[in-house]
Symmetry: D2
């Protein structure tokens, strides 16, 4: 199984470099008969697109997706769905001398050491641009899960640097460039970002991702538990340094009497588990939180070395993100959708005949944990 | 690829239920020619064994491992290595009526829903007992990595409930039942645990895992990055609710000027990355931290429902762990070793011929981050 | 995915060497809730057992299987099913000096070159003994497929050396050591074998395998077509040199007007396809034929070389099979069952919701092709 | 692992339908640093192209390949290499009414049953056109294997219908549309084909594939033996009904004294094994033979049924191949190269450190078996 393929049954294989001819994905294993159009996919891509606010990378990529296969007369055929996005705005000159240097915190050194060669332009394959094909492929998963189970995904930024952003209203999420669910704090976030940009520095972020109407029973213990595969997908997103499910690291200081979500006949009383028990979905909302590190490309100079080990100073010019976390929300949602899709197929492969004698226990009410 | 198999090239497939005849693992893909004996494996199993202190489950399992295959005249042959551990102390009567009930926070409900059937004795397949075969198989990985690269693994408890346990001295780790690297605090930890036990409650824990002398270049972007696979393995450990690499969630509040580990000609100046860049090992120490939730089996009563959805009270009798985190350290080390082993094989499959023109940059000095 | 694991969703991982402590298998992915006992498995193992007639290896192995996991109160739980068979009759002295030599036609040279080490006793891991765990695991598949679809498997020897054995009566298959479906020819086959044994030589065989009541729609084009996976499993059986589906190599000389199986409203008119179209099962009987080469262990001397390349003569003493094909029938059936089982799970993972608007076309009448 | 991906470490994922916008492949796992251009790939594609003689489908596809990723400044980077081929000549009107009918011997019925939907134009995904991306991706494997080991691949037609075509001269293979290694017989083959075309019928073919300078030690027993994986890849080629390695089905009638290839200090005396022993390459030439069935699209009418089960007559109009085997040679070579490439990576993953104490035994002289 290649490192560029995610999933076992609903697989997504991506390809492309930031400044190569094109980027894309091949999604295989999609059940046949689902309506799918380029417009469906374009919608999510546009959420993700660079250049949509002054706070993100000013690269004008059209990100226009083309479906090359796997769809006939508007419906999926069950054959691989190839998605293609041509690169159009690749201002290579911004990255002129980085082939010789290793930017601190970037993948440069590691890629060069591993492969002995790398495409340095725009970060090559390690660029955040490569999340576009993932978001595109995830549209297939989101659509199918929604049509089959009513599953919904949403994510939002819960912290920008040291500024906490409490959840107020989900409808605010799409209205600001931060994907924050809190209209009130936007001016403060904007100011914060502008200051960072002027200082030539960057900050981290915390992103929450939720899925509701998740069928119970998903997860393949002992090693491919649902939470384990979620952690795998999330930690694999560029710049992620931590993943939590449910109470996450707060579990450390909780008591068992407090952490264990009690079961009542009308549902769970809390959701510290975050939606999985023993690594299998319980039907409760999936609650994931991820930590995004501050951007490594900063305007202020950093010490580094060049290919021969000689000390140099590295300073990014041109485009840079004061906070890559600003754009992470759609990607985190995408990853969650892809993992769930794969697990629905895995689960029904083995357990399609299970006639569950226990009644599904309704999930917690929304708002019970963070939001 | 089955959910009970970890890895792609060095694979570990485990089997067994807590109260079945036996538990075990089949490790495949081990390079041939390495010396391996049952004694090698028994050593690590004994670290993990229940009944070694009053703070852990009082089940007296001998945990004696038998090598059934894959070794000839004391050396690995490259064929699958099957490890068998017979279950001997399965006091079934302690779990008499749990078949009908779902213990809050346990896998019971989810397993019953998914499979329509479960072996409830001792938690069946979801029991922490099933970490034994993983620890056993990981001995192979630890040994091989150590012989080839001098790789060393160690882990310790850095927090018990709300008590922080600063790292003082690695040599203390094996001398107390907490795997704490701090002799001074042991009495306080013991007292804390005794109180919890009397209260019939439980607490969480934070475990750190480290690997040093890790070859650079490991990791298969974009989806099987080293940190992603580590997160996958760690989150899959029973009771884990969060995983961090390097600065983890502290990255959220760091500035880029602070987080990015500068490169000097004599090494990295810090290790916020935790050992990976762009998901590929940099040669720096791998630094992982995990959150273990408080035990769900507690003596105090909890509300739950039975198979028909009727409200009941659940109360654990018999054996229980006030903190499962106490035994997690060897398992977390095992997981890290298994992931690294698999990645060494994956890396050399593709990149065996890469003659790296850059000189490997020496890792940070020990003590640079937490310890 | 390890080379010692067959399948993607219903996986079978085997372990063990001919003269090691034990051999066995771990079968993962079995749907839960199916009745399974050791007696079920023992039945098929006994068909396969050495020492059941004077024509096969006179090694008295009890081949007693033990179920170590995955079954609770007589039903599969959906967790891995580990099967263990202890080796008891390992007359090592028969193979004393083969460590230093490479027996022509055997795996010795190749294993030594690949691994730099091998367990030579009884052929080590390359011994036909290692088909026992496969046959054992396949019982699970056969049982499940039969209970769900009424699928039946049977195989028989259709040629011994140059003696063709036309199919007469399926009920004869279990009554003779050749698995021949022709009572009349048994004396001739016995005589043939006795002569071979006296001559110290060996012959090949052709084995047919059939499956009926095979659900249509199985197969994952383009690379994991059902016939491709069948070929993979069959060619992997020791001593197999050729695999045919349906008309096989006779297709070469057929005309399209003759080969194409016409569809009538009451079924297919012929079965040259052998049960797959475009690599997907059509519902027709699966018809597979394999070629088994003559045994390499023969009593007459053969030229070979030793570890240092020096010419020597190799001559087998002790136990040998004049025709390993005699025992191949149960193994070929087992492989077919395992592949079908895996594909049923794969198919329903993706296509569980497909409501086929076309009526399933009944399979051909039995007897239409060979039998 | 998706059914549209071949291989474990060097993986090839294909996409596309015969009449969709494009077809292509993503090859992942290629070692970095190898020179690769579109011209390299175009060369092999042109061998395969339809319309190159009057004996093959008269569809004028340009088959122009574009490399979208994975190559930087002319060298492979170790990242996925995406290859794109736009479809340009899709004369849909030739297939107007086949959506409603099932052509005997074609995948139509099976695809419709499995997926409930299919793209029928030009055979959709089951079209032989989908071998183009495979051939393209295999160029990468052929090139790498040749540069590293001097491995060479060649294939040829050894039988057309009932006409045997003895191997005379390898240099003839590229000079005729049959890929026959026998100049003398070409007129006879041409006449034969013309007669078939006039009769509106078709015939089968037998194709031989060879690889020489194959490193010894390749293959992952017990289930991913080299011959097993070769059989898997070959049987997966459209229209293949049988696969042989070495002596193949002739082994059935051979004696062990005759079949076993004796080892002399200067090499093997024969090559009945076909290049593998115990499923591992011995260093001898790999010898594979495949049976291609006669085309199902024939001009003469065949009985069939339509979607509702009603009897109809099916008769192909427009383009058709009297023998699809004519074009099979490049595809069979491609498959062999892909399997070998994957196995080289798998082998060195596990056995890179094996210092083989036995001297590699030179392969047989060319010409020893068939040719």
């Amino acid at each position: 199984m290649s490192g560029n393929t995610l999933g076992l049954l609903f697989t997504v294989t991506t390809f492309g470099e930031s400044h190569g001819p094109a980027i894309g994905a091949v999604a295989d294993g999609c059940p046949p008969g689902m309506l799918l159009t380029e417009a469906d996919i374009q919608l999510d891509l546009d959420r993700r697109k660079p250049g949509t606010s002054r706070h993100v990378t000013q690269r004008k990529e059209e990100d226009k997706v083309e479906i090359l296969s796997g769809v006939f007369e508007g419906k999926t055929t069950g054959t691989p769905i190839a998605l293609l996005i041509r690169n159009t705005d690749q201002r290579s000159q911004d990255y002129g001398d980085i082939l010789q240097t290793f930017r601190p915190g970037h993948a440069d050194y590691a890629y060069q050491y591993k492969y002995g060669i790398r495409d340095p332009r725009g970060g090559g394959r390690s660029s955040a641009r490569l999340t576009a094909p993932v978001v595109a492929a995830a549209v297939i998963a989101k659509k199918w899960l929604h049509e089959k189970y009513g599953t919904e995904f949403y994510g939002y930024m819960s912290q920008l640097g040291e500024l906490e952003i409490p959840f107020k209203d989900a409808s605010e999420i799409e209205k600001n460039p931060f994907f924050a669910a809190n209209a009130e704090l936007i001016p403060q976030l904007e100011t914060y970002m502008d200051e960072l940009r002027r200082a030539g520095d960057s900050c981290g972020a915390r992103i929450e991702v939720r899925a509701r109407n998740v069928p119970a029973g998903l997860g393949e213990p002992l090693f491919d538990k649902l939470d384990a595969d979620i952690a795998h997908a999330m930690m694999g997103i560029n710049a992620v340094k931590g993943v939590e499910i449910g109470a996450g690291f707060r579990s450390v200081v909780q008591r068992g009497s407090e952490h264990g979500d009690e079961l009542h006949s009308d549902g769970f009383a809390s959701n510290n588990s975050g939606g999985t028990l023993g690594g299998i979905s319980s039907g409760q909302d999936l609650r994931v939180s991820i930590a995004i590190k501050p951007t490594s490309s900063i305007m202020s100079p950093k010490q580094s070395v060049d290919l021969s080990g000689k000390p140099i100073i590295v300073q990014t010019k041109g485009r840079h993100d004061p906070c890559v976390g600003i754009r992470a929300t759609p990607i985190a949602e995408a990853m969650l959708a892809l993992v769930l899709m794969d697990h629905v197929l895995r689960h029904r492969a083995q357990c399609a005949d299970v006639s569950t004698s226990i009644s599904p226990i309704p999930a917690s009410q929304p708002g019970s944990f963070h939001d």
